[in-house]
């Protein structure tokens, strides 16, 4: 469902990502782990369609968003629940309204959006926050609200950057449960963390770990084989042929690397 093909980006004139290949399919949880400055945030921003890569292709569903006109990008982004490293909320809005906005953009009715937002907030954070202004929350609480906004719906793709940063053990378990909840509903979940403990926690519940070092995917091939191609077809995001193509590309690349 997310497919990054030879993606490279520059940050302040230096390479942040170099020729990255990564695929995440529906119902899969991928944990991108690496130290601070390794390129995780750049990778996730590109994967979420928030930042344009300098080269390569970013497929979300069956659209290469690099080739899309700027006016078409919103229609792709509304299928992605994205948590940025800094939790971007509207400070003068209530917590509930901030979460509901993700559903507003998707055109969901106000009443049902309110109910869904309450449910997600209760799962990720605390229902008592719903009427408070976002600016009155602590940074950790704001991060949980932003995570709830990324998960509400849930959207087909969930891309979360350092969701457990600065959180206690109980909150980290809650976040992990929420990500599994999204995965089990067929979402493609891509989560970045520099915390090895949290990465292990996600791997223990079935997540696939990908290590990033200096803007490159380290170790094993980072191409996710689509475990359930039918899921893509059911979501209306791709034809079954697309999933097969992902697998073929994966095989070709793996064999190419082996031969070289």
């Amino acid at each position: 469902m997310i497919w990054l093909e030879g993606v490279s980006t520059l940050r302040a004139g230096r390479p942040a990502l170099s020729d990255v290949m990564l695929g995440v399919s529906g119902g899969e949880l991928v944990v991108v782990h690496g130290p601070t400055g390794s390129g995780k945030s750049s990778l996730l921003a590109v994967a979420a369609g928030i930042r344009a890569p300098d080269s390569g292709a970013v497929w979300i569903g069956n659209h290469n968003i690099v080739g899309l006109q700027a006016s078409s990008l919103p229609y792709v982004r509304r299928n992605v629940g994205y948590l940025s490293p800094e939790p971007l909320l509207i400070p003068d809005e209530t917590v509930l309204e901030n979460i509901m906005l993700a559903l507003a953009v998707r055109g969901q009715a106000i009443d049902s959006a309110e109910a869904d937002a309450r449910e997600t907030l209760a799962m990720v954070g605390d229902s008592a926050w719903e009427g408070r202004l976002a600016k009155s929350l602590s940074t950790g609480q704001q991060r949980l609200v932003a995570l709830a906004r990324a998960l509400v719906g849930p959207p087909p793709l969930v891309v979360v950057d350092e969701p457990a940063s600065g959180m206690g053990a109980e909150e980290r378990e809650g976040i992990a449960r929420a990500l599994i909840w999204a995965r089990d509903r067929g979402c493609a979940v891509l989560c970045a963390t520099s915390d090895p403990g949290f990465a292990e926690m996600l791997v223990d519940v079935g997540g696939r770990r990908v290590d990033v070092e200096a803007g490159r995917i380290a170790g094993a091939p980072a191409i996710g084989l689509v475990p359930n191609p039918v899921h893509l077809v059911e979501q209306g995001e791709a034809k079954s042929g697309d999933a097969a193509e992902v697998i073929r590309l994966s095989d070709r690349r793996s064999s190419g690397e082996e031969s070289s």
Binding site: A45, A48, I50, R51, A52, A70, S71, L73, P74, Y75, V76, R77, R78, N79, V80, Y82, S84, P85, E86, L88, L89, I90, P91, D92, E93, E97, N98, L101, A102, A104, V105, R106, G107, A109, I110, R149
Partner: protein, 298 residues
Amino acid sequence: MTFGWILRRARRQTASARRAVWAAAASFLILGLVGGAAVLGLRATRGWMNTVGQGVHVIAFLRDDVNAEQVSQLVDRLQRQPSVARVHVVEPAEALVRLRDAAQPATGSWLADLEPGYFPRSIEVALAASADLAPRAAELSRRLRGLDGVTGVDAMTEGVARLAAWVRFGQRLGWAVVLAAGIAALSFLVGSVLRGREARRRQAQVLVILGETAGNIRLPANIALAAAGLAGALAALVVLRLAWPAVLVAVERGLGIAPVPVGFFLGFWESAIGLTTALVLGWVLGYVSTPVPGWVDA
């Protein structure tokens, strides 16, 4: 985002930025007052100038039964006076045309029903300029009142030339004040809207990440500021409607001139143009005040 959501966003944005929206509406009110007063003031001074600019110092109104030969004789006698500069006979038809010209469109349809027969024939006398203009005009009026066929005499002696000069000066001063007030109100309006630009940029960034289109991101601010513009302009119309007649009468009394027969309020199209301008200006300000990034450097 559906229209219901957009209205909700517009309401919530207005509530969270209440002071900025009130400031914008107040600016539109001032702009409306300045603009409306300029149009109405220009119309009033045109009416005054119409009367004053004719340089008429004495008007003699004639009886209906005075024939053309008698009028001609009277004109001859007046023109022989050394202090008389010009004599002009105003026929009833010309009097009606002048009234219609002075009245402007907003006066209504009652002028259309008037006929020349309602107006008396009159003779307008302009005296040669000199320091003793007022006593000469008073003396001529006294003599004209004694003539057969003259039903009344209007001696427009008191400071007519001075009034004309004051009206011209007042027009120039008025334009300067209008320009200064307009620029000040517009600067205040743009300033109050742009002060909230940073907060709206942040909101826009959030909505871009969520996948909202640029048009829908701007729409709540467009609606809020267009509504502020419309409300301010409507309030200006109401204030002008209530206050302008009293202001006009006070000015005319202060200047010591008779009320001019001009429409004392803005016409339908003038009001419509004013309201539409406020609406469009508010919409444009809403657009400008919400910067929407394409890609986000999150």
